[in-house]
């Protein structure tokens, strides 16, 4: 059962399948700067050699934004006064979106950054800054700097059975201009989040900066 209220997105959502690469809505590589392309190519080549470069989630640290938004695990959204909370099953990532607030001038740099949100008509707009540079844009290997700024435009589609999120990524160090990717989440009211203990027998644990996942 999903609510007919376009502003009510409480419940469990789950992206179908898993696309480990972020691309533009048109399916293109992002508009890399020279440095951004070089770093992406480095990571792709390391992957091909069987020596994937470890990043934060392989060490059980938060995935970062926007990488978390592509994760193939369920998300529970809970709205309480002034706040929207996203509880991600994957590695217990917790995201707090403070509604109708301005961004602080210089928030501390963290894995998941500082998020504020508001509604524009039937679209939820989430603005995230304050992201550290220890995470990547995606699992494939697009990198970002700590100047990353992510804006999500989220709205119900398919009569409320799914959410569409347009994710706009701005980072002058890695990209020549802002670009937008898309993810879909399906309503999964029958699903309950399960425990996730990444640190238990972590088969992806980094060794000397290389992820041992096979």
């Amino acid at each position: 059962m999903t609510s007919s209220d376009p502003h009510d997105i409480d419940g469990v959502w789950w992206t179908p399948g898993y696309d480990r690469k972020y691309r533009t809505v048109e399916g293109e590589l992002p508009p890399f700067t020279e440095r951004g392309r070089k770093e992406w190519q480095h990571n792709v080549d390391a992957d091909k050699r069987g020596e994937p470069v470890a990043d934060a989630p392989t060490g059980c640290l938060p995935h970062g934004i926007p990488r978390l938004l592509a994760s193939p695990y369920p998300i529970q959204i809970i709205t309480t006064p002034g706040q929207m909370t996203w509880v991600h099953e994957v590695n217990r990532n917790q995201r707090f979106i403070y509604m109708d607030e301005k961004q602080p001038a210089n928030p501390p740099k963290t894995y998941l950054g500082h998020s504020v949100g508001h509604w524009e008509g039937d679209t939820l707009v989430i603005d995230t800054i304050g992201l550290n540079d220890k995470t990547r844009i995606d699992e494939e290997g697009i990198t970002h700097s700590d100047q990353l700024h992510v804006v999500e435009h989220i709205r119900k589609i398919e009569g409320g059975k799914a959410l569409e999120s347009l994710i706009t990524i701005t980072d002058p160090v890695m990209f020549t201009k802002p670009w937008t990717a898309k993810r879909i989440y399906r309503a999964r009211p029958e699903v309950r989040l399960m425990e996730y203990a990444c640190e238990e027998n972590n088969r992806n644990a980094p060794e000397n900066g290389v992820t041992k996942a096979k």
């Binding site: 059962m1 999903t2 609510s3 209220d5 009510d8 997105i9 409480d10 419940g11 469990v12 440095r35 070089k38 770093e39 480095h42 990571n43 470069v53 470890a54 990043d55 934060a56 060490g59 059980c60 640290l61 938060p62 529970q76 809970i78 309480t80 006064p81 909370t85 509880v87 099953e89 590695n91 217990r92 990532n93 917790q94 707090f96 963290t110 894995y111 998941l112 540079d133 220890k134 995470t135 290997g141 990198t143 970002h144 160090v173 009211p189 029958e190 699903v191 309950r192 989040l193 399960m194 425990e195 203990a197 990444c198 640190e199 238990e200 027998n201 972590n202 088969r203 980094p206 900066g209």
Partner: protein
């Protein structure tokens, strides 16, 4: 690493969650627990409500004494929280970091800043009996109901990896934890714990925690696993210039 399997999920869901969205933020007529809370006096050593040691069986008392001595002398222990595994229940309730309760009519979620943990309680939706649960895990399987103005949570299916307190109180897989959450003032939350484990204790026993509401406190990120590996800048990692 936890890998999700649909089979185990199905086994632990006794009924469709049936979350009804769009209702008031708290159950009608129930105290509103939503908000950030901080435990008043974290108990590194969990004691009974009377401030005494719990009624250990001899073997458990021995394990507890050994772990306490090892901790006190700075020796390496098998403390799971030291390698950022989940604290387990009841230890998680005593972490000296804020918790956040999100109360809905059919579901109460408790988030813990410590190592970004969380628990979800579904109201009036019983879980399978202990014999019919999937493998025990760190936070166990919880059911919840309102008893008048008290939220009562019952948890079992806990693994024996976790410690019951910061200094090493042991328990077995037959541990059942009952939590009774009750507001004693608008900003004061009492939690009475009843701990039952016939393998560890000679009788069930009670402990008591008090939380204070923190209207101006927000969660900070607690990336515990940085203690084990602090990732470099993703640019640095790829040798970018």
């Amino acid at each position: 690493m936890s890998m999700r399997t649909r089979a185990s999920l199905a086994a632990c869901v006794s009924a469709v969650a049936g979350l009804v969205a769009g209702q008031a933020s708290a159950a009608e007529g129930k105290p509103n627990l939503t908000g950030v809370w901080l435990v008043e006096k974290p108990q590194a050593e969990l004691k009974t409500t009377a401030g005494k040691a719990p009624p250990f069986k001899p073997d458990a008392a021995k394990v507890y004494a050994e772990r306490k001595a090892a901790k006190a002398s700075g020796k390496k222990t098998d403390d799971p929280a030291a390698i950022c595994l989940p604290h387990g229940i009841p230890r998680l309730l005593n972490a000296a970091q804020p918790i956040q309760i999100l109360q809905k009519p059919k579901q109460v979620t408790v988030l813990y800043q410590a190592n970004h943990q969380s628990r979800q309680f579904y109201l009036d939706d019983p879980i399978p009996t202990a014999d019919n649960l999937p493998d025990p895990n760190y936070d166990g399987y919880s059911s919840a109901k309102w008893d008048g103005n008290a939220l009562v949570v019952t948890t079992y299916g806990l693994n024996a990896v976790t410690w019951m307190d910061d200094v090493g109180m042991p328990h077995g897989e037959k541990l059942t934890v009952a939590e009774r959450y009750e507001l004693t003032a608008p900003d004061t939350l009492h939690v009475k714990l009843t701990l039952t484990d016939p393998e560890t204790f000679t009788a069930p026993w009670d402990a008591q925690l008090t939380y204070k509401r923190q209207p101006n406190l927000r969660f900070k990120e607690d990336p515990c696993s940085e203690k084990l590996w602090n990732p470099p800048s993703s640019s640095k990692a790829s040798g970018g210039g």
